[in-house]
């Protein structure tokens, strides 16, 4: 299968742009030692769409995310973002190109304030270096001012109250921490937002709000969103298309109503009929 993947004619760069695709994963494999975590997954994401990846625990969803964001290097296969090959590029490089993410288990910079958190994620959008920072040149000052302003805007956008902007992120409520993670991702002005189980630990009311918020992100800011999610209500409601992974393989793909009826998906979730 591996050989088959590589012998395929490579699509020309820029191809996906023409198709209106923002992200394209081609025959991705990831092997950890003897374990095949992701096996031959191909996948494409049209611009300004909202798509979901679902699957049972251990299906390789987060591993797949980690390859899209550069935390893992695929064993084989290619990842194209905006028509450009970003396979195995460093996470910060991929982030700079416009891919931002949140984490399944919240990974905020715990002892930094909410505002500092959203300023860190602007790192790749700002320039001031060692000497600029020491001398605090006018350019550095302007940049700091702008980064602070931008940070505040994003925090407001996700619905954090100004009273918690200076609070250490670890002291925020769980819901606010989830919001802050999204704000942190948004502050980098991404084109693609990857959300790893964004509704984990939320009540139905909060999940519904987040569903609405994701649509707003797409409509107001033209974002493309890819999410990993276990809450089927959210998935079915928000996704245009769904990809289902099981044991590292893609077992189904399609519109929510198609996936819902798919034999293999039902099997993967509920087990085979006796």
């Amino acid at each position: 299968m591996n050989a088959g993947a590589t012998s395929e004619p490579a699509p020309k760069p820029g191809n996906s742009d023409v198709d209106g695709l923002l992200l394209e994963a081609q025959a991705i494999f990831k092997v950890f030692g003897g374990l095949v975590a992701v096996e031959d997954v191909s996948f494409s994401l049209p611009r300004k769409s909202i798509m979901s990846i679902i699957g049972p625990n251990g299906a390789g969803k987060t591993t797949f995310f980690n390859m899209l964001t550069g935390l893992y290097k695929p064993t084989s296969g290619r990842v194209l973002f905006d028509g450009e090959d970003v396979t195995g590029k460093r996470p910060d490089k991929i982030m700079a190109k416009g891919v931002a993410r949140t984490f399944q288990n919240i990974r905020l910079f715990a002892t930094m304030s909410a505002l500092e958190n959203v300023m860190v994620s602007q790192h790749s959008r700002t320039k001031s270096g060692l000497f600029g920072s020491i001398l605090r040149t006018p350019r550095t000052r302007r940049e700091e001012r702008e980064a602070t302003e931008k940070g505040r805007q994003e925090l407001e956008y996700v619905g954090l109250k100004p009273s918690v902007f200076e609070e250490m992120s670890v002291n925020l409520s769980y819901g606010d921490q989830r919001r802050l993670e999204i704000a942190r991702a948004l502050a980098s002005d991404p084109a693609l937002l990857l959300l790893d189980e964004p509704t984990a630990g939320m009540n139905p009311q909060e999940s519904a709000e987040l569903t609405e918020f994701m649509r707003r992100l797409r409509d107001e800011r033209g974002l493309t969103i890819l999410l990993i999610e276990h809450d089927m209500k959210v998935v079915m409601e928000v996704s245009e298309r769904i990809t289902v992974l099981d044991h590292g393989e893609k077992i189904a793909e399609g519109k929510p109503e198609e996936v819902r009826k798919d034999e293999r998906v039902i099997e993967a979730y509920l087990g085979t009929k006796a």
């Binding site: 980690n66 964001t69 550069g70 935390l71 893992y72 290097k73 460093r90 996470p91 910060d92 490089k93 982030m95 700079a96 931002a100 993410r101 984490f103 990974r107 905020l108 910079f109 715990a110 002892t111 930094m112 304030s113 500092e116 300023m119 860190v120 994620s121 602007q122 790192h123 790749s124 959008r125 700002t126 001031s128 270096g129 060692l130 920072s133 020491i134 001398l135 605090r136 550095t140 940049e143 700091e144 980064a147 200076e166 609070e167 250490m168 670890v170 002291n171 942190r184 980098s188």
Partner: protein, 384 residues
Amino acid sequence: MSSLAGLRKSRYGSLALVGLAVFAAGVLPFFYESGSPFIDDCVTALAYVVMALGLNIVVGFAGLLDLGYVAFFAIGAYAIGWFGSGFFSNVNGGEGIHIGVAGLAADLPGFHFNFLLVLVVAVLLTAVAGAIIGLPTLRLRGDYIAIVTLAFGEIIGRIAINGDEIKLGTHTLTAGRQGITPVDKVDLPFVDPFTSLNLRPWYWLALALVLLVLFVNVRLRDSRLGRAWIALREDEVAAASMGVPLVKTKLLAYAVGAAFGGISGAFLGSYLNTVNADQFQFSFSIFILAMIILGGLGSIWGVVVGAIALSFINTRLIPDVLNPVPGKIGLDFDLTQLSFGIFGFLLVIMMVLRPEGLIPERRRKLELTEGIGTGEESVYEARA
């Protein structure tokens, strides 16, 4: 929970306090004789403050445990040993090369650069050395970084000791345990050359270096780079995913931290009038590390206090105040030989009573009291 806004305001309020402290420190030498041993101890303490502030950038800000900091003291000291003494006596046919020096040094063989120029050389050498030590640690985490840096410190120390066997053309690399001596006294523009009789100028120069390094520390802490360091310390995976380039950010931490060690090393080389390989031992790295732990990891003011406190415990409290104690209670040993035992004892006491340090960094305090941010998860497949 305390809000950060309040703390930030109080930081501006404390600016007046800082001004007062600087003024007090500035006039201090007038209350003592110009050659007083107290001033001597103060100069040493200030030089240690510079080093502690440098190490604090690496360990306190960026969270990279460095156990080989003595290497940068050594390289800084050799910068002045090589370029501010008669050590390379054959250069320029025994005439010597002189840049910006007057008086006695201008006629001696060997390299004799002005102290400011030596500082520049020391900064460059140590920054490069810092980046070099950083490279092999990039793929490592936590304890493993400590081991590699420890080895690096030892390597530099060994090279210093055995450098009298390493030939560079007609010369040796170092003078080994014999030491390079005498070393040029600091000679600054518009100021009389420093002498070993009047310690006040040394004191003021050391104070100026401390202020310079403090300024750089504060500016960097509150900058884009400082935020990246702290983000790195908090969560390397998240930092990388948020656009912080790990390699560059870590190497900058190593390089900047090392440069401060180099500045202090060059100053001490001139002040002590010798560059001796015996100075550069592992215990010195621990000594500086103990200062920043005592003061409060990551806390700039804590580190200043910790460095001064430990330095005075080392130079005054143990040899002068405590040393007669064993004799009085009928024991016969030299307490100064136990100084590291005493430091260790102090650290244990600190860890029990006040683990966050004398003046804790606001972040670190939370971490230690509430067990936050200590999670280490290796999601990231590190690559250099």
